[in-house]
């Protein structure tokens, strides 16, 4: 069969289009492609941010905050006049590792159908499984536009060390946002920190960005599985319980003291984002196993955590913040696979305390 197309011109045109497409894409990189989403239209919004490492979780981790928010139910929910909007910021304990959306702190607050300030409380889970204050600040900064009546920020010592503020992947891969935060909130973090990923022109081409683009598409496709199953993480039948027999080490990030080692400036910035905020020192496992006289749990030696609690309490008092120190609220057997991950019953205990704090906010 005689073809009208000639091979070599075709190959040349293909190569030219390929190069042009790649070069054009460098200039399109600033477009917020992540805001284009099938969630909250074709598929229901997610109850928590996308996060997951395995295909069985019908979920994936990505660094595009626009896409993460666009897939969240918060982005698709018009604030009703009788809604008292509460945003929950924090790490994996807020996100709800091993918990269904209904079992999380946000889920239990919503299930209580309680009122605050004459309105119905509607809590939104903006937790993300990374323990670092800068990530929380990024989320808070982006969440402002959703008109929260109250933000509850749950945190723990592991989020504070200065040395990890810019190194977690979700922070490092949002260099522009971080630079803006540093400038806008005058945070003493180093914007030229090598950990921050600043892509070269080549790294901004379509070829280099193919993984990020594929992730965006996969997130949309996973929307169908979210809609059809309501599953967004793997719930194993069995898992390894949080460690209670601990190493005989009192090391915490190689520090001898926490003096000037914690990123309180990032905390200050976060607490200034919206007018109504409650800061919570989240519950953690207090072990009674081997070496528990040296360490509270896998994360913390006793000396470091005690010093942190004291500093945080003083800091909050000095700034007149609403602060709840709930570090020992939950008994040891209500933790799951980590010293900060709670069982549904543990979340219930926390939800009761938080609910009272929310209602107290109106008095």
């Amino acid at each position: 069969m005689e073809s009208r197309t000639r091979l070599y011109p075709l190959l040349l045109k293909t190569a030219l289009i390929f190069v042009l497409f790649n070069l054009t894409f460098i200039f399109l990189n600033d477009l917020p492609l992540g805001k284009i989403s099938l969630y909250n239209s074709l598929f229901p919004g997610r109850e928590r941010f996308p996060f997951g490492e395995t295909r069985a979780s019908y979920n994936l981790s990505l660094f595009d905050l626009d896409a993460m928010f666009a897939s969240h139910v918060l982005a698709g929910t018009e604030k009703a006049p009788d809604e008292y909007r509460v945003l929950l910021i924090g790490d994996s304990s807020v996100w709800g590792t091993l918990l269904t959306p209904e079992q999380t702190l946000a889920g239990q607050l919503n299930a209580s159908a309680s009122n605050a300030c004459g309105k119905t409380i509607r809590a939104y889970n903006l937790g993300y499984p990374t323990i670092v204050l800068t990530k929380d600040l990024m989320m808070l900064d982006q969440a402002r536009e959703y008109q929260p009546d109250l933000v509850i920020w749950l945190t723990t010592l592991e989020a504070f060390p200065n040395d990890k503020q810019l190194t977690s992947p979700v922070v490092a891969n949002n260099a522009e946002r971080v630079e803006d935060l540093i400038t806008n909130y005058q945070i003493p973090l180093n914007a030229s920190e090598p950990a921050l990923v600043k892509p070269s022109a080549w790294e901004q081409t379509l070829v280099s960005q193919r993984r990020a683009l594929a992730d965006l598409l996969r997130l949309q496709i996973y929307g169908a599985l979210w809609a059809s199953t309501g599953i967004d993480q793997v719930y194993p039948q069995d898992y390894e319980r949080a460690q209670t027999d601990l190493e005989a080490s009192d090391d915490f990030h190689g520090l001898a003291s926490l003096e000037n080692a914690l990123a309180f400036e990032v905390l200050d910035a976060g607490m200034s984002v919206v007018p109504h905020m409650i800061l919570v020192n989240e519950p953690m496992l207090i072990s009674s196993g081997r070496n528990s006289d040296i360490r509270y749990n896998f994360f913390y030696p006793r000396w470091a955590y005690d010093e942190y609690r004291q500093q945080l309490a003083e800091h909050a008092t000095n700034r007149n913040w609403r602060y709840l120190d709930l570090w020992d609220l939950v008994p040891a057997d209500e933790f799951t696979n980590s010293a900060i991950h709670l069982t549904p019953a543990g979340e219930g205990l926390l939800a009761n305390k938080i609910l009272k704090a929310i209602q107290a906010e109106c008095k």
Partner: protein
């Protein structure tokens, strides 16, 4: 086959096509050599040590055995056959020796076995080949014996319980823990296709339809690298005709092949792999909460399996075209067919053609010889038995049996319905609008019948299929 293997196959196809203009013999030898190497390269890693070397070696040994028992005595001594034998054995030996040269395995997924083990294998295979192949008086029963051998291997590979027991046996012999044995330990790449090509050749030899083939032609036909992993199942005489033709890779041929390859790549890696995320599987069978979504998940599977398989076929046909082989089509818009018979005439056509030639037609001829069997019983038996075997070819499990019976019964009902309509309502097709409506309705009914059949095919357990059916129909 992954993208790297497809890319390498395209490159090799282009090189062979470009380098062997009008040089038939060189093209055949190069195709044989590349196909032999592909048998090793495409085989994925297996938990059993060196099995990613032994299984491809067995594929080649069975190929030589089949050629020997279907060729005249002493044929191996002829020049081309001897060269072909040298290429196959020489390359297999080189692949094994690569363990002493290359720091990491390149042509096999894991390090090939030690040379002395390979020599023992060669010796054993050599003795078996001599026994089967070089004794003319034994020919008649040797062909049957090889057919039985191939069927027995297929049954072992396709039956999870037997595969597991075989894996346990190998592990015991190799003094390895049997606790981690699994029925997936013997994933023998392309064996279903290789076995069917070999059985076709053996049966044609028995019936006197097989033309004489040289070992290089025969070996290339059986393990032809573009069609190794996912077919199609060509016929030896048709394949050899292409192989014996003078061929020059022209710009037009390259373009046509390129179009087909790109179409295949798009179907497989864009459409099918995307649909695979939401397509029906064991987990989704229990997790999907609503009837509507269950239908979507079933539709996704129906299209995923089509685009996946037809995509691979397009790639195989495209690459084969680069080297002058026009492989048979395997799909012809099957989901647009108005009845199940036409669906099966356009779905995995090379497989259905194989079953028609080597089971359905002989089986029907045999039944016609039996007295006192009503026509409808013969129709039912023929269709149900054929579809049952097609189901079993995919795997000897309850669900594949149910899938085969689903289609067998469907074909029978369609046959009876067509007969009923033809005799009573022969004027139905005279109204053009009614005809179009009937056509659309028939396509939709046929598609849904096939899609519901995939509920058996996609899942591992009848109870899961039942759960899906209940959800689909709101029960």
């Amino acid at each position: 086959m992954g993208l790297i293997q497809i890319g390498a196959s395209i490159l090799i196809g282009l090189l062979i096509g470009a380098l062997t203009r009008e040089r038939r013999t060189l093209r055949i030898y190069l195709l044989l050599a590349c196909s032999v190497l592909a048998v090793y390269w495409f085989q994925p890693a297996l938990p059993l040590r060196s099995f990613d070397f032994w299984l491809p070696s067995l594929s080649l040994a069975l190929t030589i055995l089949t050629w020997l028992v279907t060729s005249p005595a002493g044929a191996w001594r002829l020049g081309p056959n001897f060269i072909g034998l040298s290429i196959i054995v020489g390359l297999a030996t080189l692949v094994d020796l690569s363990r002493y040269v290359l720091p990491d395995p390149v042509l096999t997924a894991t390090t090939p076995p030690q040379f002395f083990q390979y020599c023992i294998f060669l010796l054993v295979v050599g003795i078996i080949l001599s026994f089967f192949g070089w004794s003319p008086p034994r020919r008649l029963w040797t062909i049957s014996a090889v057919i039985i051998l191939l069927i027995v291997i297929l049954i072992i590979l396709k039956t999870p319980a037997l595969s597991l027991q075989t894996s346990i046996l190998f592990r015991t012999v190799a003094n390895r823990p049997i606790e981690s044995a699994s029925f997936t330990d013997l994933r023998w790449l392309g064996f279903s296709y290789i076995a069917f090509r070999l059985i076709h050749v053996l049966r044609d030899k028995q019936t006197g339809h097989l033309p004489e083939l040289s070992l290089p032609e025969f070996g290339t036909y059986v393990v032809f690298f573009p069609a190794l992993a996912a077919g199609p199942i060509d016929r030896a005489e048709r394949f050899t005709q292409d192989l014996r033709k003078d061929f020059s890779l022209t710009q037009d041929e390259t373009l046509l092949a390129g179009q087909r390859i790109f179409l295949g790549l798009f179907k497989k890696f864009v459409i099918a792999d995307t649909l695979a995320i939401i397509a029906l599987n064991d987990a989704l069978a229990t997790q999907v909460r609503t009837m509507g979504w269950m239908w979507i998940v079933v539709y996704a599977y129906a299209f995923q399996i089509y685009f996946d398989f037809s995509g691979y076929t397009d790639i195989a046909i495209g690459i084969a075209r680069l080297v002058g082989i026009k492989l048979p089509e395997n799909f012809a818009a099957p989901y647009t067919r108005p009845n199940l018979t036409q669906f099966w005439n356009s779905w995995h056509m090379s497989l259905t053609q194989w079953f028609r030639s080597y089971f359905f037609n002989p089986f029907n001829r045999w039944m016609r010889g039996l007295k006192h069997i009503p026509a409808w019983v013969m129709i039912f038996m023929g269709q149900a038995a054929t579809m049952l075997l097609i189901g079993l070819w995919h795997g000897i499990t309850v669900n594949f049996i149910l899938w085969g019976l689903w289609h067998g019964i469907g074909l029978f009902l369609q046959n009876r319905w067509s007969e009923f309509i033809r005799t009573r309502y022969s004027n139905l097709g005279q109204d053009a609008r009614l005809r179009i409506l009937l056509q659309i309705g028939s396509i939709l009914i046929t598609f849904h019948f096939v899609a519901l059949g995939w509920v058996f095919f996609a899942l591992s357990d009848p109870s899961l299929s039942w759960q899906v059916f209940r959800k689909l129909f709101g029960m």
